[in-house]
Symmetry: C2
């Protein structure tokens, strides 16, 4: 049994190493690769992805998993060996249920779809992408149908990103959240918008970088096992638990761009750095789901990074960094600027409050498409209608509507949006639980210290990696299931004070 377990582990780590090398090919492509190398790099990435997939669906792994089942069942649920077998089985079953031919067809279709979108967006030509989107919808349904026994057709797609979450549990939660947020947004937007001109001055890149990285380090991001580079789109990437890198991008005339993206990615990265080292290279050695991951990035970016407490300590330092720009700007003005709420057309530019409304629109549209209640042809109008009713804005055309981002034009319809709002909800729920367990957290934050918060997150979330399911993590860390109440309370308290609601 020990030899079989060892063989399973070796095979899994081999797959992990291939995936790590593939990740490095991607990181390098995004950071330092010379432009002329693109074609060869694409081939190399495809080769490594294929080899990793071949190794994962090797029937030998299935046999090992079968042989190890009695051993697994003889161990407690939270034993590390039992957990490795359990989580490996989940990955194996996911990988083997989808035919390789389907996956390669889908990959090809996604590439073609992306190309079509890249041309259609500047031309405001939804008709040009409509047939691609129709095929994407059909293939997304087909993908779901490789996992029969679902309650809702979106469930298998949601499950791939947020294991154990279901359309029919998320939908009422989101409906309630929307119902309670729309009045808050309306109350805020009936007032004159905050003046955020102070963050739109000229800020030299080097100083922006140093300030953001210093804050990330104080949070607990370990630069001995990480680093910060520049890319067109910020991301976090893991090569091992001892090598989790983040990237950011700078705008000379927007202080918030790199600062909050750095804090956001540092949140993701601390999660991956905090996994128990013994899990390195195995399926246990990474964050468990999109929603739990996003809870960590949003917690550090927003609940901490945009809080009054955080800036009580950091604003004087920021003023020293940028004396010309901010020396005479009061903390209150700055605090209001970085928390400006304003309904807008583009999800990725949205503020902390309205962001969820964007996400929930996309989630609902995805479900309606998958259910067959909405046709792709009717999608642009449905989009405009929902933006009008939920956010009170309407894009002048499809460029800032249904064509606004690459989602849906490079992956499934279904499964890719719920994680963002789950993350916001969970971030608040985890923060509330942490603060209840360690009441010194707010005072520490005001003193520029984060040990109590980072320690609670590491103990309750980070260290477990993928050992527990998202729902188990939530239950263990907060003593109950996913709840929107802490998030609503957080928003009410923060924005109620800011806007005297």
């Amino acid at each position: 049994m020990k030899a079989k377990l060892q063989e399973l582990r070796s095979r899994l780590v081999e797959i992990g190493d291939l995936n790590a090398a593939a990740a490095l090919l991607y990181w390098d492509q995004s950071t330092y690769m010379p432009a002329g190398a693109a074609a060869a790099r694409g081939r190399q990435q495809a080769t490594l992805a294929r080899l990793a997939h071949e190794k994962l669906i090797d029937p030998a792994i299935g046999k090992l998993l079968d042989a190890l089942q009695p051993h697994e069942q003889s161990l407690p649920y939270d034993d590390d060996d039992a957990s490795l077998i359990r989580v490996a089985r989940r990955q194996y079953e996911r990988a083997t249920k989808v035919p390789a031919a389907f996956m390669s067809e889908f990959t090809e279709h996604n590439a073609a779809s992306y190309e079509a979108w890249a041309k259609a967006r500047p031309a405001n030509d939804f008709k040009a992408v409509q047939p691609y989107l129709e095929k994407t919808l059909e293939m997304s349904r087909q993908l779901a149908n490789y996992f029969p026994g679902y309650e809702h057709i979106a469930d298998p797609l949601i499950d791939l990103a947020d294991y154990g979450m279901k359309a029919n549990t998320i939908r009422p939660l989101f409906a309630e959240l929307r119902q309670r947020m729309v009045p808050i947004v309306q109350a805020i937007t009936s007032q004159s918008p905050a003046d955020d001109s102070c963050v739109h001055q000229r800020f030299p890149e080097g100083k922006q970088r140093a300030f953001g990285l210093d804050a990330a380090k104080r949070f607990g991001y370990d630069l001995n096992r990480g680093r910060l580079d520049k890319t067109p789109h910020p991301f976090t990437i893991t090569f091992s638990i001892t090598d989790v890198r983040i990237t950011t991008r700078f705008k000379a005339d927007d202080l918030t761009e790199s600062l909050f993206s750095t804090l956001h990615e540092a949140g993701h990265a601390m999660y991956e750095q905090g996994v128990r080292l013994e899990y390195d290279g195995t399926p246990l050695g990474e964050g468990v789901s999109q929603g739990v991951h996003e809870s960590q990035s949003r917690l550090w970016e927003n609940i901490v990074g945009r809080s009054r407490g955080f800036w009580t300590y950091f604003y004087p330092r920021l003023q020293k960094t940028f004396p010309q720009q901010l020396g005479s700007v009061p903390l209150e003005t700055f605090y209001r600027a970085i928390n400006k709420v304003s309904p807008s057309l583009i999800r990725t530019d949205a503020d902390e409050v309205t962001y969820n409304l964007h996400v929930m629109i996309r989630f609902d549209l995805e479900l309606a498409l998958l259910e067959g209640k909405l046709s792709v042809a009717d999608l642009p109008d449905a989009w405009h209608a929902r933006y009008q009713s939920d956010l009170g804005v309407r894009a002048p055309d499809d460029r800032d509507g249904v064509l606004q981002d690459v989602h849906w034009y490079g992956g499934t319809i279904g499964g890719s949006f719920q994680g963002y709002t789950l993350g916001n909800i969970l971030g608040a729920q985890f923060f509330a639980a942490a603060t209840q367990a360690r009441p010194q957290i707010p005072a520490e934050i005001e003193a520029g210290q984060f040990g109590a918060l980072h320690g609670w997150l590491a103990e309750n979330i980070y260290q477990h990696g993928s050992k527990y399911t998202p729902n188990e993590i939530i239950e263990r860390a907060t003593g109950g299931p996913l709840r929107i109440e802490p998030y609503i309370q957080y928003l009410r308290a923060k924005y109620g004070e800011l806007y005297r609601l």
Copy 2:
């Protein structure tokens, strides 16, 4: 036949892609990897190397090669398909003749041997490494014996680095070279040494970098398919023909350190960038041997980069770059400084003239060890004796003697030195042939232009990659076999003028 050839090619490119990813893991480790990642990175590198090796020795490749033999023989020797089959067979046979168990034992021994050397060198303790070196010698012999039928036991080891070269052809060549160089060295060193204080001032790193990279670009190093980074030891590394990177290191008080290492590595890199793009990812897609590779690096570094013609154009630019340091230093003083000849103890610090004497000592000692004419116990004394007779210097102890570098403590004894001097010889031979074919080359160099030289090298050497053997390349490019005469003429002309010999 076409399908079989296609399958062979796919398998070879897959191996190439794995090797490229492994190379990227190494490059990243040397440049940007956070320190804490070392252990996991070591595991990832080992995994990729093992997978690439497993794929190469797959009997399916042997069967394809057998099946393709009639096809190969029906094609002209220099047909690309025939060449691919021929060179792949050579790699396959090399890889399959050595048992995997031996290779992994040797890899382990090398790691242990390296550890022992790293401790023994500062302690000046040759006795501590002696048993490791004895085992290395024994294993080097064993490795050679996996390739029976050799004329000299070093031949299989030489063959791995410099295909087709043999101890008994190199030895008389080196003996003659040594015989003709020792008097030159003695004549030079009987004079007072050149004053090189002008290159030992303070030179800011950024300006050093920009100047060296500019020269490399003018040579023909393509930054759209390459880049320059900093590492403790300079190297060139290839991920594809469209991505060949170089590294350098800087010394604030030595202008020559980064400048000539950049030009040296650019020489290697232009060779790899110049291979025909159709060969990318296959065994044809890289430089053919250590000696031919070194001929390119040394040609650009020394024959061009340390020439009076090169500095006729570049020295005024260098003076503009460093006006305080060099503004009042005449070209002649600078030219003598960068061509200072002085017998020294350390090979890697040696000048262009004495460098070969170091290499030839090592080559002869390797042969004597392999032949059993010299025991490892007697190696330190043999070392001192040869340095005394050839270079007229004697290291105070073994630290700067037999322990001076990691060679022999991390690889075979045999095969790893001849390439350096072959490179110097070949560099001069190729340059002479290029200048004969394109007489405008010297005038171009004086005008800071390198198109004629780069073009000749690309046409006669670079484009072929590994299609032709080193001896074929030499024959095709120069119309005859390897000859030392052009190198001796080059040294006589250059140093005769400098030292009025």
